[in-house]
Point group: C2
Chain length 171, copies 2
Amino acid sequence: MNAYDAIRSFSKTLENLDKWMEKAGETAKARGFEVDVLAQARLAPNQFAFVQQVQSACDQAKYAAAYLGGKTAPSHPDNEKTFAELRDRIRKCTGFLATVLEKDFKGADERKVAPPWLGGRWLTGHDYLVHVAIPNFFFHATMAYAILRHNGVELGKMDYIGGLPTREREA
Amino acid sequence: MNAYDAIRSFSKTLENLDKWMEKAGETAKARGFEVDVLAQARLAPNQFAFVQQVQSACDQAKYAAAYLGGKTAPSHPDNEKTFAELRDRIRKCTGFLATVLEKDFKGADERKVAPPWLGGRWLTGHDYLVHVAIPNFFFHATMAYAILRHNGVELGKMDYIGGLPTREREA
């Protein structure tokens, strides 16, 4: 799995997340509540709410694509309040991810990645992908899923995983 | 990130998980409850409890190492009830992961992976890693973390991520 494959898998999971949010909307309708109240739902009082989990999943994917693909990350201000706005944020993010092409990731493993929060230190592109981008991306995507599940949205593991490129058994 | 790197990152995260469980023990002691009650904690009534999240994280790592490294997965029966037993399960799992060497993963991308739950269909080793092993492993590790957080164990993102191989800024 190279950086390009990782970014493609982030994109797939963000599209899955969009579908979980659609299901949340159906749950809200069936149970007679406003789906946007879930934007502020959280699992612990000092943990990110759903809205921040979605923003963080998007940003982990966006910055990984930018750092490893040698691109400038577009600015996506964290000002969403509703599910419709968050789903638009997801589309903006996957739209950017699609602009970073396989060839842009050439040499990604050796790139020097120095995000501000490392305070002047840096990671190789390879280490950034393995130790930061992949674990963090799936952390925030799973937390978003967990918050919906905790609030009664009926999601299952295949909603999380999405489609699989399985192959037929040979004759 | 090749299969070997992925397995090493699973191993690191399982060691982090062991530390979250140690912190949970400290929280339980400080607040005067029995830590093992958290083994049955869950975020939704029809979702896996903590014990199953830990078993599943271990199994995702174990089967990925076995399938992609051409080894037979050791049997680890799901009979744990206590935190001590679960931490022992984690040690058994990381012990097995350590036996699968970098050279064993040669050609992992092209291996044919046909777990029973695919019902006779199969995935390439590459697709299994990208679409199944990585998302699923971090799903269950994050769910275990989320259940502890939800129950008041004070964990932060750096507990999740663990140590980073950062490098010094050049002079």
